[in-house]
């Protein structure tokens, strides 16, 4: 080939320009709320805790944010993890049973659940890498089977609990904010450090960008993939504990339902391509916040939950289109043509 190849649509370096579009979408949504329901912006302090719609969004969105962190890395390797919702249910069921029936302290249950989540994720990873099952199929298996496993763990019952530490996990406050916010910050910081301060992030991106080339360079592609699915499983376990703690009960059939889709949306809206390669963790967090803000907005507007997915879908499509350089170019072309006409 003898060209300076078409310069293409590469994102100029790092965060700045990649994050601008999800941020703009979020800003537009906030602006909408400013006009239509100013109460959205009310914040009150009660008993030293901050309350308000914003705080609700952070709290409610914490599950999607945690899932999106794991999902980002999986998607960056060119895969996808559909099983996170079911892993949430398994982790919730396991924690409840461990705390209630086995009488373990919550800390021990937490650790065991994280390990279980990581193992379930590793199972996905092994299917994808060693057995070469398509990620969507491999994780679909656990997605379907997972709720059954959760049911087995709880014996088909909804296990309720009052264990203070477990209740605090999803409902408590820390530094004036819901504890879940702290949890998200910690997991985000750890993930960012682990991927960007080491070469793990590079290996993940390389595996997604060109798996063969990365293997030819001696990179541990399979290991990276198994780790990434394990990490996603562990994130799902954390999110599952929050969801279970929220309702103080392990409800295997409902916990984490359709959450995998929210997580995938968050990643895509945030600017990580489904084809793998470059990823942005912060983008996914913003994406998750965008989706939660949308959900909360519709809830506040009194929209029936049954039809809520429709406007949600519209906003997601718009946010994704806004991301696409090809689409933006077409739009500017359209407008400039109109201007000259």
């Amino acid at each position: 080939m003898a060209t300076p190849d078409s310069p293409g649509n590469s994102r100029p370096s790092l965060l700045g320009s990649a994050l601008i579009w999800p941020l703009l979408s979020l800003a537009a949504l906030l602006l909408f709320n400013l006009v239509w329901q100013p109460s959205f912006y009310r914040l009150v302090v009660q008993d030293g805790h901050l309350y308000g719609t914003f705080v609700d969004i952070l709290n409610q969105g914490s599950k999607a944010m945690l899932l999106s962190l794991g999902m980002t890395l999986v998607i960056a390797t060119g895969g996808v993890d559909l099983s996170v919702g079911s892993v949430m249910a398994i982790a919730g069921a396991l924690a409840a049973v461990l705390v209630v029936s086995a009488g373990l302290p919550f800390a021990a249950a937490l650790v065991l659940c994280l390990i279980a989540g990581a193992l379930l994720g590793a199972w996905n990873g092994v299917l994808v890498t060693f057995l070469r099952v398509q990620p969507i199929i491999a994780t679909l298996i656990l997605m379907v089977v997972g709720r059954g496993i959760a049911m087995l763990i709880t014996g088909g019952q909804i296990v309720t609990f009052e264990t203070p530490a477990f209740v605090y996990f999803g409902n408590g406050h820390f530094l004036g904010l819901p504890f879940t916010v702290t949890l998200v910050v910690i997991v985000f910081a750890l993930t960012a450090l682990l991927t960007r301060r080491t070469a793990i992030g590079l290996f993940i991106e390389a595996a997604g960008d060109n798996e063969t080339a990365s293997r030819f360079c001696g990179a541990p592609v399979r290991l990276v993939k198994v780790l990434v699915y394990s990490f996603s499983g562990a994130c799902a376990a954390l999110a599952g504990l929050i969801a279970t703690s929220n309702i103080k009960a392990a409800d295997s059939s409902r916990v984490g339902e359709l959450m995998e889709l929210d997580a995938i949306f968050a990643v895509v809206v945030g600017g990580t391509a489904l084809t793998g390669g470059r990823f942005t963790l912060l983008g996914s967090i913003i994406g998750a916040l965008l989706i939660q803000t949308l959900t909360t907005t519709m809830y506040n507007l009194g929209m029936p939950p049954a039809i809520a997915p429709v406007p949600k879908a519209i906003v997601i499509v718009l946010a994704c289109l806004l991301q696409s350089p090809a689409f933006r170019k077409q739009m500017t072309g359209l407008f400039s043509r109109r201007a000259t006409a």
């Binding site: 003898a2 190849d5 080491t198 960008d209 990179a219």
Partner: protein, 505 residues
């Protein structure tokens, strides 16, 4: 002869690059015209402007006297301009007939007339001297045949100008001759053909006139027969040609026989794929693998590097048994492998030049010991300068670079590892004379530094020029080895010697 296509003052810019500046090109009916230039000279950009892949910024292109603005390859095809690209753009899972006829399958009342389609496809391929069962699936054909089918497809539409971008880079000599015969006949029928190739011999054998571009500018237009090769090289490179010539001399014949062998392969083979092959490589030695297309050169390289590990025979590295089951193991033994397929096995397209360049090194250090950023930048800058890699900077995504420069980044990726053995599979494919000479010079300097090199090229002349010894392969087996003084003729004689009636494509 009358003028068919005329381009004047054509310019095209990409962000940060002026790819073409005021270029002109005249193509007449009934001529084969070569477009010549180094990597990044603007050849492909020019072709893409003509064929509607890009839109020009300035200038005019007239076709048959009318100004044209092709918006897409399809649009260009309707005007009468068909193109065959270097990388075959066909659909492997469809049949040959479907590939030839795709988009214009004959229909009656909305139903595809398969018999007529196959008949037409058969005629189209026979026109190229191919005798094929057109109902076969394309993926079963060799790359060379696929390339011919792509040409058959391009010719099957009403076409006045046929653009061929590196059509011969994966063809063997016989196939090239067959293709040329067809092209000459098409020319005599009044077709205009624009031909891009890096093989000078082919340019002189085939073309009537040529246009030279350099750095996006028009340099000269000449009758091919009137232009001495050295002058052509001078025009393309924009410098005195002695430098390019110097690298064409054979390496000094001081084979380091005293050195212990780095690699010893005995009866190495992979069942159903390649082998047995025997060879040894010593430090400071360039071992060439010669053979026709499909003779097992690449398969041997992949086997040696642990991509498709051997299942028979014995491999030793520095005297120790080394089974090498994965590329990672091979790398630990000090091996490096530049694959022939730059795009799917080499580059990490969306990652930066720096990340691509340092990837193998980082992989060998493991994920936790990240190379400090300052160190990364230093190494990247060093190799960009040392190998004269043309890139806006180390942070540019590698896919924005031209083929030759991508290749240099990949070479740098391995050189940074300071390997004991570097396997180069077609390192000069699809890159221009200048970059080719640079790479050959680089190989010579690596050899002098004591690196062992396994060199593979489909250009026999190049293998002979670069290598100190040559292993000759045929039908995926080793058939001999040439040492001391040898030339192309001896290699060809060996390949042709007994029972070579079967081609291996």
């Amino acid at each position: 002869m009358n003028l068919l296509l005329s381009a004047r003052q054509v310019s095209k810019s990409f962000p940060g690059v002026k790819a073409l500046a005021g270029v002109q090109l005249d193509l007449y009916r009934g001529e084969i015209h070569a477009l010549m230039g180094e990597n990044g000279a603007g050849k492909s950009t020019m072709i893409k402007l003509i064929t509607g892949v890009y839109k020009r910024d300035e200038g005019s292109i007239t076709f048959d006297g009318r100004e044209i603005h092709p918006k897409s390859p399809k649009d260009a095809e309707a005007i009468g301009i068909s193109t065959v690209y270097q990388e075959v753009n066909l659909i492997p899972t469809l049949s040959i007939a479907e590939n030839v006829m795709l988009g214009r399958l004959p229909r009656k009342w909305g139903v595809i007339q398969w018999r007529a389609a196959r008949e037409q496809a058969r005629r189209a391929t026979q026109r190229l001297g191919l005798d094929l069962d057109v109902s076969r699936e394309l993926s079963g054909c060799s790359i060379a045949i696929q390339q011919m089918i792509a040409i058959a497809r391009a010719l099957d539409v009403r076409c006045e100008l046929l653009v061929l971008d590196e059509p011969t880079s994966s063809l063997d000599a016989e196939e090239v001759e067959a293709l040329f015969k067809v092209l000459r006949k098409l020319r005599d029928d009044g077709l205009a053909i624009l031909f891009v190739s890096h093989f000078l011999d082919q340019i002189y054998a085939l073309t009537d006139r040529l246009t030279v571009l350099r750095n996006g500018q028009f340099i000269a237009e000449s009758m091919t027969a009137d232009l001495p090769r050295l002058e052509l090289l001078g025009q393309m490179l924009g410098r005195k040609v002695e430098a390019a010539q110097a690298a064409h001399h054979a390496p000094p014949d001081e084979r380091p026989t005293a050195h212990p062998k780095l690699v010893e392969a005995r009866d190495l083979g992979l069942r159903g794929v390649v082998g047995p092959v025997d060879f040894t490589i010593a430090p400071g030695e360039v071992l060439g693998l010669a053979g026709l297309l499909g003779s097992g050169r690449t398969e041997t390289a992949r086997m040696l590097f642990g991509v498709d590990p051997h299942d028979t025979g014995d491999l030793r590295v520095s005297g120790e048994p080394a089974p090498l089951r994965t590329p990672a193991e091979a790398i630990r033994r000090g091996f490096a492998f530049c694959s022939e397929d730059r795009k799917s096995e080499g580059i990490l397209p969306h990652l930066s030049v720096r990340e691509n360049l340092l990837f193998a090194m980082q992989a060998s250090r493991g994920p936790l010991r990240r190379i400090p950023r300052a160190e990364q930048t230093r190494i990247a800058d060093h190799y960009i300068a040392a190998l004269n890699i043309k890139t806006p900077g180390p942070e540019t995504p590698i896919r924005n670079l031209s083929g030759g420069n991508q290749q240099k980044v990949l070479l740098a990726r391995w050189l940074a590892m300071q390997p004991a053995l570097i396997i180069l599979d077609e390192p000069t494919r699809g890159i221009d004379v200048g970059a080719k000479a640079e790479i050959e010079k680089l190989i010579a300097s690596l050899r002098e530094k004591g690196m062992a090199v396994l060199f593979i090229s489909s250009e026999l002349e190049e293998v002979v020029r670069v290598s100190s010894r040559v292993v000759v392969l045929r039908d995926r087996k080793k058939i001999g080895e040439l040492d001391g003084s040898f030339d192309e003729n001896r290699v060809l004689n060996m390949i042709a010697a007994p029972s070579s009636s079967h081609g291996d494509s």
